[in-house]
């Protein structure tokens, strides 16, 4: 970590509002991108964002200088998004994962394809909720299955099987997108 960043964090620990604003300006875009990734609606992302920043400034004293500050922030927003997801899960209809028929395809087919980030984001957003959450936590955030199982309150094997199904489902979606692109 840079000395300047350490200094700002130290000021935040003392409750300096100017330092808090500086940290917010520096990391809010990253935080919001993560929040959007784990929520379906922008409004939900804003809720997660707000909740996450409040947690950041309330618990910043517990942050150790030897860790990555960005990693710490990312972890907070992901955890907040998971809490939000689990909270909403109780009130929304959940698609039974067994009803989704993924069509396995060989990833070789995508070897030379170059999807943009937006296309990938759209494809991931089409994943059923359970699949999508496990896939994003494992692939993008680098969580282990054990952590995912704990965070989502699911079985370890469920996490593994959902990841496997998510990959196949995503493969199918991407294949469909590439087919449409070729036709056009």
């Amino acid at each position: 970590m840079e000395a300047a960043e350490i200094h700002i964090i130290e000021r935040c620990k003392k409750g300096d509002p100017n330092a808090q604003r500086q940290v917010y300006t520096r990391y809010s875009s990253m935080m919001f991108a993560v929040a959007i990734r784990y929520t379906n609606a922008r409004v939900d992302a804003e809720d997660v964002m707000q909740e996450s920043w409040i947690k950041v400034f309330r618990h910043i004293k517990s942050f150790g200088e030897h860790n990555s500050f960005e990693g710490w922030l990312r972890r907070i927003v992901v955890n907040t998004a998971i809490t939000h997801y689990r909270r909403n899960q109780k009130h929304t209809f959940q698609l039974d994962i067994d009803e989704v028929h993924a069509t396995p395809k060989d990833f070789e087919a995508f070897k030379d394809l170059d999807f943009t980030k937006d296309e990938l984001a759209k494809a991931i957003a089409q994943l059923p909720k359970g699949y999508g959450m496990v896939f994003k936590l494992y692939v993008i955030e680098g969580f282990k299955h054990k952590e995912i199982a704990e965070q989502l309150g699911i079985d370890l094997n469920t996490s593994k099987s959902q990841l496997s199904r998510a990959r196949r489902y995503l493969q199918d979606v991407l294949h469909g997108m590439s087919q449409r692109a070729i036709k056009e």
Binding site: R21, S28, F32, W53, F107, F115, G142
Partner: protein
């Protein structure tokens, strides 16, 4: 493409992703943080006040109990003041005194001439000994008797008082100390 490669490809696409949040979020976040801070400060202040209050109450309790003891031992009560006391013995003593003064003005002098025993000195409160300026005619004994609640321990006293007319020595062999 293997799973790991596919995962890495996806991960690389999202690394360093940033989306600018709406402007109004910033205001809402810092307003919420300020509110929390205010609440914290208020909580700390309230806790401090409560602690100070508790300390003040505790210390005043200690001092007041100490001063009460001090008063009891040193302050001489005015002789003609009727104490709102529940101590029946003391009330009875004052009644005795008034009767004595009414009927035999020298009774007190006689009493002071006698050397008091240790038991007597325990039973007689200091306020009742020094009573030089009592105006006996201003208070009617009958009215006082009916107004003052007399405890069981002091119940025998009026009987003794009735006999007092013939004797000068009245004090307190039969008076029991109420605990």
């Amino acid at each position: 493409m293997k799973n790991e490669e596919f995962d890495q490809y996806i991960q690389s696409q999202f690394a360093g992703e940033s989306i600018a949040p709406p402007q109004q979020i910033e205001g809402a976040i810092f307003e919420a943080i300020a509110k929390i801070e205010r609440r914290k400060k208020f909580g700390r202040m309230a806790a401090g006040i409560m602690i100070l209050g508790a300390l003040a109450y505790g210390t005043s309790g200690v001092f007041s109990s100490g001063s009460a003891v001090h008063k009891e031992s040193s302050v001489e009560l005015p002789a003609n003041t009727q104490q709102p006391s529940v101590d029946g013995e003391q009330d009875a003593m004052s009644l005795q005194r008034m009767d004595l003064q009414e009927k035999q003005p020298n009774a007190l002098e006689d009493r002071t001439m006698k050397s008091p025993t240790a038991a007597d000195s325990e039973r007689v409160p200091p306020s009742s000994v020094a009573t030089p300026k009592i105006q006996p005619k201003t208070i009617e004994p009958v009215a006082i008797r009916s107004a003052q609640p007399v405890d069981q321990g002091a119940h025998e006293i009026p009987v003794i008082l009735q006999d007092v007319g013939e004797e000068t020595w009245v004090l307190p062999a039969t008076v029991e100390v109420k605990e």
